[in-house]
Amino acid sequence: MKNSKKGDIAAYQVVLFVLAIIGFLIVLLLWSTFKDTSDTSNQICHLSVLTRATSPQAAQSFVPLKCTTKKICLTMDSSQKCDSSFAGEKDISVVKLPTDTEKAARIVEQASAEAMYSCWDVMGRGKLDLFGNYAKYSGISFSDAALEKPYCVICSRVAVDDSVLEKKSNGKDSDILLKVNIYDYMKKNSPPGESLTYLQLFTDKQFSSYPVIDTNLFNEKIPNKTTGTAQIRFTRKEIAYVFMQIKSQDVSDVLSNLATSGAVVAGASFLTSPTRTAAGLIVTGGGVSAAIYKVAIIAGFAGQAAINAYAGQVMAAGYCGGVETQNPEKGFIKEIADKIITGGVGTSKGCSLVQALPYNFESINQICSVIEGNP
């Protein structure tokens, strides 16, 4: 009798022990499997975004955004990994393009649309206040000027390898990039796991096609709050997808300006217009109001027609309206609290956008004063 009890206990202990070891191994296996994947890095980024947006105001400055800039290399030769852009850097996602020009162009479109949407999705689709409170509690001055240039996150850098630009047809520049039409791709295709198209997702489900674009748009002065033409030097074969937020009292003005400029404006969401020329629109902040810059892109290297066509699709998608913030509904001196919360701008309204920009200091420093996240 006694022996049987001893045996029971031993069997129970062995089973428990084995289960514990198996459980531990499973956890370790899962941890090591998902540790370095891009999906996990997206989730870590999204988690840090949510943590910051939902933290009490004073704690926000202690919550860093754990968003690492993704490096995507478009190449035709897998032995070449965009060395002119990424030499010496790690964790580069290489997208090998097929020799078929049409297929290669679709893959470039897919990579670009995916990079833009992923950035938008991970950063909270413009509904979270990520930088307003943070800027205040990080010791930045209380004036409007503090938010003149927004904080940015560079979600990804998409580089075009020389092997793509060197592929010429009939003596012309690479016709892969000349055949890229990101807008058309976004109109017809959906991100993985979504039933709506990229265009519908960016425009709050309201649009399924783009408005007709006035081709003379860029020859005319954009009215009202447009602050002129920004020249962007395209000195590198690389585009960055940048997320930024602009605090603005005049959200409706921003939207009407965008609409005047030919952007798709749906409720509070917008997507700047497609253009196949080497010019586009940049949306940026200037104190209390956002502004639209007309952009001329200048390139100065071989394959510039091709890279211009690609970069000419410089675009911005975003949302203007209220942002979720840890605003105390009631409390003493609510007005002052509001002012603190809204970064001194006096509003919890603003525009959030993800924008494709040439990856060089002239372009990005025009817009971003601080880049958050990890290089």
Binding site: A20, K66, C152, I154
Partner: protein
């Protein structure tokens, strides 16, 4: 009786072994989770500085002898509290981290507040908190070119005067919170890193 008690105690202890092991495993998991959470929220600035040092090292190693190139350094929140500095193999005042090699370091400190004759203060900053990368070349220079004003240049033949920018070269490069473009050249014996700064130098700084 005493013997039986001892045996019983030993038996009790044996029965506890699986629980102890499970408890230890749970503790290990909790520690791993804790470290991950800590890494998630803390030391972001240091991690970014370290990563920037790695990227610069990678860029230098990717350059072949005789090559030069411009490259972008992507800033990060708090980058203005860090600076880039280099020491040649035979230079005095190098941090111990460099041992007997030339090295380039990213160190914590505000470069504009460092005083002239600063080899020692640069070293101290890098010893306190700095990430150094060693290189096998004899000479390393990490400098920034600053615009201090303009000089009147008189053409002796025509007598006409024109203004040309007066530039000074200062030791070290302060990092920025957005992007900065740095030029880099590498030869068999030397690595040169130069940044064209748009900020005037501080009077205290080591410029020449």
């Amino acid at each position: 009786m005493r013997m039986r008690n001892r045996m019983k105690k030993r038996g009790d202890l044996r029965e506890q072994v699986p629980e102890i092991i499970i408890a230890v495993l749970c503790l290990i998991l909790i520690v791993i989770a804790g470290v991950m959470i800590y890494k998630l929220f803390a030391n972001q600035e240091e991690e970014n500085a370290k990563k920037t040092a790695d990227i610069i090292e990678g860029r230098i190693n990717a350059l072949k002898d005789g090559q030069s190139n411009n490259f972008i350094v992507q800033g990060f929140k708090g980058a203005d509290n860090w600076f880039l500095v280099g020491w040649s193999k035979t230079e005095d005042g190098r941090p111990d981290k460099c041992f007997f090699d030339s090295c380039i370091c990213i160190c914590k400190g505000d470069l504009s507040r460092l005083k002239s004759g600063q080899d020692e203060s640069l070293n101290n900053k890098c010893t306190d908190l700095g990430f150094c990368r060693k290189f096998s070349v004899d000479k390393v220079s990490v400098e920034r070119e600053v615009l201090v004003g303009s000089l009147k240049d008189i053409n002796p033949e025509t007598g006409q005067s024109s203004e040309k920018p007066e530039k000074r070269i200062c030791t070290g490069i302060g990092l920025k919170q957005n992007l900065m473009q740095i030029s880099m050249s590498k030869s068999k014996d030397e690595i040169k890193i130069l940044y064209e700064s748009d900020e005037p130098p501080n009077d205290n700084q080591a410029c020449f």
